[in-house]
Assembly symmetry: C2
Homo-oligomer: 316 residues x 2
């Protein structure tokens, strides 16, 4: 699995490029993107994703190459084609038959889409069962999660090969058993966001209050133990069963009282007004987004991931 072709040199493409080169140091990467300044673009942006590797050295040695056409990007030796082009079903549906014609039978075909299922993208392929979604959490060169989402036609063997690759480089692939809108991580995040927007609209707290609450409680806890494992602990000896039995009424009360933004707006002809106030408060609280935001976020993310791994590995 050493010859990897990346289609699309946006931020996700470059971040995946850094992921492969850093965590799989013998990989050889070809980046395909139709933009005319591809090499200059990579020289300008990729260094920000690579902590120690030199882009110039990688390009000089041929470990990293650019390809202006798909035909140059995919060879019989290509082991993995990974796509992160425009989030546009027409683009992706047209792409895969062309990829299929160029790639070997053994080549793995992955799409990093955040929402267009493999079953939609693969409709014009000869063998639609070859395609698999490998959806990252941004930025993929730092964050360990990969949602692996096969279509109903994707073979178990190909799913396992995606899992093996990412586990082999110490990432955390999680296989979804059914395609669904938005996959899982965004659906969970949007469910919390909906209630957060509702509570802001009701005047219970503001945008900054929501963020401070999450950062100082749920975020820390869930970085170490997910919601089910945490509530299982919360139930003590009786585990999740005891937790739920004890709090069922409270949970149900909160659910009954929860906001249904969007739906309500639709019914009331509100046209998405739920977002105006949170956008205003967010800009007021944080100002314009600066490059330094990402520097701090990414540095602390690396530190937290390391802290959690080392902390869990300790035996005492």
């Amino acid at each position: 699995m050493s010859n990897i072709t990346l289609i699309g040199a946006g931020t996700i493409g470059l971040s995946f490029c850094a992921l492969h080169l850093t965590h799989h140091p013998t990989s050889k990467i070809i980046i395909h993107d139709p933009r005319p300044d591809l090499a200059a673009h990579i020289r300008a942006l990729l260094p920000g994703y690579l902590l120690t590797l030199s882009v110039d050295a990688l390009l000089a040695s041929g470990q990293l190459r650019t390809a202006p056409t798909l035909e140059e990007a995919i060879t019989p030796e290509t082991d993995i084609v990974q796509e992160q082009g425009p989030e546009n079903p027409a683009f992706k549906t047209a792409l895969w038959p062309r990829v299929e014609a160029l790639a070997s039978d053994a080549c793995l075909l992955w799409t990093s889409t955040s929402g267009i299922p493999a079953s939609v993208q693969s409709v014009d392929m000869k063998d639609p069962g070859r395609l698999c979604v490998v959806h990252p959490f941004n930025p993929p060169h730092i964050m360990p999660l990969i949602e692996v989402v096969p279509s109903p036609l994707t073979s178990e063997t190909l799913v396992q090969k995606a899992v093996d690759y990412f586990e082999g480089i110490q990432y955390k692939p999680v296989v979804l058993r059914k395609e669904c809108k938005g996959f899982v991580l965004n659906r969970l995040a949007f469910a919390l966001l909906r209630e957060a927007c509702h509570l802001v609209r009701e005047g219970v707290t503001d945008v900054k209050g929501i963020d401070e609450i999450v950062e100082n409680s749920l975020g820390i806890r869930w970085s170490i133990k997910g919601p089910f494992a945490s509530y299982h602990d919360g139930g003590g000896k009786g585990g999740l069963g005891a937790f739920v039995a004890n709090l069922e009424g409270t949970i149900q009360n909160c659910w009954d009282d929860a906001g249904t933004l969007g739906m309500q707006d639709e019914m009331l002809g509100g046209g998405g007004k739920w977002k105006d106030e949170v956008v205003r408060q967010t800009m007021e609280a944080y100002g314009e987004v600066k490059e330094q935001n990402f520097v701090v976020r990414d540095r602390v993310s690396r530190d937290v991931i390391k802290t959690i791994r080392e902390g869990k590995a300790k035996t005492d």
Copy 2:
């Protein structure tokens, strides 16, 4: 604010005792609980919450005392009375007039309740505006969040005194501007839990998959930056406004497709069946809850909190 009386010596009470003694080293604590073995109970369990302090030394010096009755627990010198007794409105409503009769006019009155609002607890008080909720995230001696929830009658001065106390010991108080069911942190967590249970029931993933997804993406991110700040960054130069404009359709699709567990069960006469499968899977995934779960969770939580503080404080 040095003389603190804690009412209730359960896990939250002992954890708050450890919080005050550790972060406010000149505090003097009196613990009141009607249990006949109170001193032995504290000697047995409190050491687990105190990393370096000796319970025997604290008891010998009188910095920590036990009081079998409320009359012995509250003196004219008491600065703060903090209650974490049974989550039972009748208990709390009956307690506060007794506390009020014993405490000085300047004494702060706090309840650590997770759901019974100050406006309910204070109905029989002479001055119901004295009571304020200070709701922690478990365990409070480690997790920085305190939800400060005044009743509509609680004075701004008393709210500010609670904020000052917790900020003074490097905790993170967040003031809610309106009482609501479940306060904010549990409502946000339950909103995510609802969608998680829905996705498990739909067979998209299982309990372990949900936990792995959250631990390796949202948990890490939200420990560093809350949801609004994160999506603001996600919008790049245009901030949250650009993020929402770009993803509005996707967010709305996920919301329209989101589960409404509880509600549905009610309508279908399901009687809370949503929980049976997640409880079964959780037990299968994690087994019985052991003491070691908490040791690891708490140790790694301390490390993560330290890592985030140090990482954010660095200037580069």
